[in-house]
Amino acid sequence: MVKRVSVVDVDLCVGCMMCVFACTRRFGEGGVSKSAIRVASIGGIERGFTVIVCRACPDPPCAASCPTHALKPRKGGGIVFDPAKCVGCGNCVKACPYGALMWDEQSGKPIVCTYCGYCVNYCPYGVIKLEEVKEVVAHVP
C-alpha cells in the first residue's frame, strides 16, 4: 500500500505554515520555494484556512496531461515525477483540480509531493496525517 498526506480536519488549522516550511526544509533550506504543500486563508484568517496538498488520485489527471510522461501514475494512487523528462510546459499545474502542484520558479518545473510525510511531523494541531491510500475504484467508462 502507498501513502499520501490527508487533511484530517481543516478546521483545526491555525495557519502557522509549519508544514509548508517543513517541506522546503527537506532540501536544507528555510522558506517555501520548494514546498509541495500550501496553506492560505479563505478570505481573511478569521474565516479559516485551506490546506492544499496532493491527494494521490487513483487516476491522476495531472499525469494524463503530461506530454512527455515526466509525470506518471504511481501504482496504488498518486504520481511519480522524473524531472529529466519534464519540459516545463505547466500542463499538469492546470490539470490538477486542487491546484496541488506548485511551480518551482528556479527550475521551471512543478513541485511534486513525494508522500514522504515530513510535513506531518511538524503540524502542531494534528490537521494533516500520513495515511494509506484507500482503494478507490476509478470510474473507467
Partner: protein
C-alpha cells in the same frame, strides 16, 4: 553570514519620485545582525536630525533578521520611524506574515522615504515594485474593507503580507496603527500617521523564495531541537490556550490591573472581561503568525442581530489580548465582554492603537469628572463603563470635530498641556502607559525604556517575582538594563518575545552556527548593548532628556502589590540608570573616535 543569504539586501522605495532600488549592506548586517540593530542605523542615516515626523523627511524602516524564515517563532518585523506621538524614536513590532514575506521576497530591510502626491499603495512582488493609485481607497472607513479589496486584486495568496491604514492614519491621529494582515499591528507610537502623511494607504509584500544555509544537516538538527523545546514549554500552552488574556485575573487579584485611569488597581468586574470568560463564551478561532506553532491570536465572535430584519445576524471577529482588555476594558470601567469587544472592533476598524486610545479616553473621563473639560469639549458624556458613549468618542478622536478632539488625537501628554490634568495623564515620554501597576520596576521600565513600552524590559515580570521581597535600587536598575540589552538581540533576529524563554543565549549561539555565522554569547551581549546605546543616543539627539522625565503623580497615589510607590526610590533609580548609560555612551563615543 552565509554568502548566498539575501539578508543584506535593502530595498529603498521613494514615494516622491516613485523610484526604487536595492543596496547591499553586508557590513551593516554583520555588525548589527538585522531587525532593531539594522533599523536604528538605517533610521539615523535616512532621517535628518530634528525632522518633522509627519513631513516627507521622515522614513519608514521595516527590518527582519537572520532567523526569520529559518527558525520557528522568528515571526516579527521591526518598524522604525520618527514617532509623531512622541516626536522621538518610534519602534513597533508586528507579526502576521510580514516578516516571512519580506525575508522570502529576498530582503533584510525595506526603507520607504519621501511622500506621494496622491494616495498610493505599494506592492512588492519579489524583485519588482509597483506603485498603484489608491485614490479610490482613500477615505474608506474600515481597515477590513481595505484588506478585502487588496486581497482580491493582489496575487501571492498565502505568501503575502498586507499592511494598511484606516481613517485614523489618514486623519493623522498620532497613535494611529498599521494593521498587518488581519488582527496584527504595528500598534504603538503612530506608524499609521506616518503612512498617512506619506499618502501611503498600504504596503503589500509577496515573498515565495527560500534562504540557503551553510550547514544543512546542522540546520535541521537545531530546528528540531528548537521545535521540541517550543512544544514542551508551559509558555506555549499558556499562550495557545487562553492567550495573553490569561493575565487579567492574576493581575487583578494581585492589585496590579490599572482600572478607571488607575484610580484603582483592581476592577470589580474583571471576571467579565477575563481570558476565561472570553474563551468560554466568545472564542471563535485561534490563529498563528507564519512559522509559529503557538497560535496565540485569539479571535472572539460577536453575533449581533440586525434591528430591522428578524433572524439576520452580523457576525464579527474581534481579536483580543491582555493589553487591549486593560486599556479598553478595565481603564474605561467596561465590565461587559460584549461592550469591550465592540470598542475593540471600532478601534480595529479605524486603525487606532488600542492601548493609547483606551488610556486617552480614560484620561478624558477623569478630566471631565474633575471639570477640566465639559460636554462642550467632549460632545458625548464620558461615563465609566458606558461603552456606547465611548464608541462615539472613538469616532470623534478620528474625525476631530473640535479643538478638544484635535488635541486628544495628539496624545494625552499634549492634551494635558492644553487642558490640565497632567497628574493623572498616564503617559511616559509622550506614550500612553501599558497595563501594569505591578511595582517600581514596571514604571521605571516605562520611563526609561527606549520606546517607553512594557516590552523594552518587562519590569512587570520582575515586580511580580519580587512581591513581598525588598527591592534595591541597584538590583532593579541592573535588571532593567540587562534585560533591555538582551532583548535588542532577540528583536534583531527577529524573534517573537514570547519565544524568549526558549531562545536562551546558548541556544541563540547554537542556532547561528549552521548559518555560517560564529558569534559567542559575549559577542551577542556586546551587540545588544551597542544597539541599546545607539537608540538612546538617537533619543538624546532628538531632544529626549532625563531631566524632563516625569512619573505621573497618579502612580504614587494608588497602591501597587509593592505597596505605595516611593518617589525617592524612583528618583534614585533614575539617577543610577542615567549615570550608568551616560558612562556607557562616553565609552561608545570614545571607541567610535578611535
Amino acid at each position: 553570514m552565509f554568502p548566498r543569504d539575501p539578508l543584506p539586501r535593502v530595498l529603498y522605495i521613494d514615494l516622491s519620485s516613485k523610484k526604487y532600488w536595492v543596496e547591499e549592506r553586508k557590513e551593516l548586517f554583520e555588525e548589527f545582525i538585522g531587525g532593531t540593530g539594522v533599523a536604528i542605523n538605517l533610521l539615523r542615516e535616512e532621517v535628518p536630525r530634528g525632522a518633522d515626523p509627519l513631513s516627507p523627511e521622515n522614513a519608514i524602516v521595516l527590518a527582519v533578521g537572520p532567523f526569520n524564515a529559518l527558525y520557528p517563532m522568528a515571526s516579527k518585523t521591526v518598524a522604525m520611524f520618527k514617532s509623531p506621538l512622541t516626536g522621538n524614536l518610534g519602534e513597533s513590532h508586528a507579526g502576521g506574515r510580514s516578516a516571512i514575506a519580506i525575508r522570502l521576497a529576498g530582503y533584510g530591510a525595506i526603507v520607504v522615504k519621501g511622500a506621494s502626491d496622491i494616495p498610493v499603495w505599494v506592492s512588492v512582488h519579489g524583485s519588482k515594485v509597483y506603485f498603484r493609485d489608491a485614490r479610490a481607497l482613500w477615505g474608506v472607513r474600515s481597515t477590513h474593507t481595505v484588506g478585502r479589496v487588496l486581497r482580491e486584486v493582489e496575487g501571492g495568496h498565502g505568501f503575502r503580507t498586507i499592511m494598511r491604514i484606516g481613517r485614523a492614519g489618514e486623519k493623522l491621529v498620532r497613535y494611529a496603527c498599521v494593521v498587518v494582515d488581519t488582527f496584527r499591528h504595528f500598534g504603538r507610537l503612530g506608524l499609521g500617521a506616518v503612512f498617512g502623511s506619506k499618502k501611503l494607504k498600504a504596503l503589500v509584500v509577496v515573498g515565495k523564495g527560500s534562504v540557503p544555509v551553510a550547514d544543512k544537516a546542522g540546520y535541521r538538527r537545531v530546528y528540531d531541537d528548537l521545535y521540541k523545546r517550543i512544544m514542551g514549554t508551559p509558555a506555549t500552552k499558556k499562550y495557545h490556550e487562553l492567550g495573553t488574556a490569561e493575565n487579567v485575573l492574576p493581575l487583578n487579584e494581585l492589585g496590579a490591573l490599572p482600572t478607571m485611569n488607575l484610580k484603582a488597581s483592581r476592577f470589580e468586574r474583571a471576571e467579565e472581561i477575563s481570558g476565561e470568560r472570553l474563551a468560554e463564551r466568545y472564542l471563535g478561532r485561534r490563529v498563528s503568525c507564519a512559522h509559529c506553532p503557538v497560535a496565540c491570536i485569539h479571535l472572539a465572535v460577536l453575533r449581533e442581530p440586525y434591528e430591522h430584519e428578524p433572524y439576520f445576524y452580523k457576525t464579527t471577529f474581534v481579536s483580543y489580548d491582555y493589553e487591549p482588555i486593560y486599556a479598553c476594558g478595565a481603564m474605561l470601567g467596561i465590565g461587559s465582554a460584549e461592550g469591550l469587544l465592540k470598542v475593540l472592533d471600532a478601534i480595529e476598524t479605524y486603525g487606532l492603537d488600542a492601548m493609547s486610545t483606551g488610556v486617552a479616553l480614560a484620561w478624558m473621563t477623569e478630566a471631565y469628572e474633575k471639570g477640566l473639560v465639559t460636554e462642550k469639549e467632549t460632545i458625548m458624556k464620558p461615563t465609566w463603563g458606558d461603552y456606547a458613549s465611548y464608541l462615539k468618542a472613538i469616532e470623534y478622536v478620528v474625525e476631530q470635530p473640535n479643538e478638544f478632539y484635535a488635541a486628544l488625537a495628539k496624545g494625552i501628554e499634549h492634551a494635558a498641556k492644553v487642558y490640565g490634568g497632567a497628574d493623572f495623564a498616564l503617559a511616559y515620554g509622550g506614550n500612553e502607559m501599558p497595563g501594569y501597576h505591578t511595582g517600581p520596576a514596571t514604571h521605571l521600565g516605562f520611563a526609561l525604556g527606549a520606546r517607553h513600552s512594557h516590552l523594552d524590559s518587562a519590569g512587570y515580570s520582575y515586580d511580580q517575582k519580587m512581591v513581598g521581597k525588598k527591592v534595591s535600587v541597584e538590583e532593579v536598575v541592573t535588571y532593567l538594563l540587562e534585560e533591555e540589552r538582551w532583548r535588542q538581540v532577540l528583536t534583531s533576529l527577529v524573534l517573537c518575545l514570547f519565544a524568549r524563554g526558549v531562545y536562551t543565549p546558548q541556544v541563540v549561539v547554537e542556532a547561528f552556527k549552521p548559518l555560517g555565522w560564529e558569534l559567542s554569547e559575549n559577542d551577542l551581549r556586546e551587540i545588544g548593548k551597542r544597539i541599546h546605546l545607539l537608540k538612546l543616543k538617537y533619543k538624546l539627539d532628538e531632544g529626549f532628556s532625563f531631566d524632563q522625565l516625569r512619573f505621573p503623580k497618579r502612580i504614587f497615589e494608588t497602591p501597587s502589590p509593592h505597596g505605595a510607590l516611593d518617589p525617592a526610590f524612583m528618583e534614585q533609580a533614575l539617577k543610577l540608570y542615567r549615570s550608568r548609560v551616560e558612562e556607557d555612551l562616553k565609552s561608545l563615543e570614545a571607541a567610535q573616535r578611535e
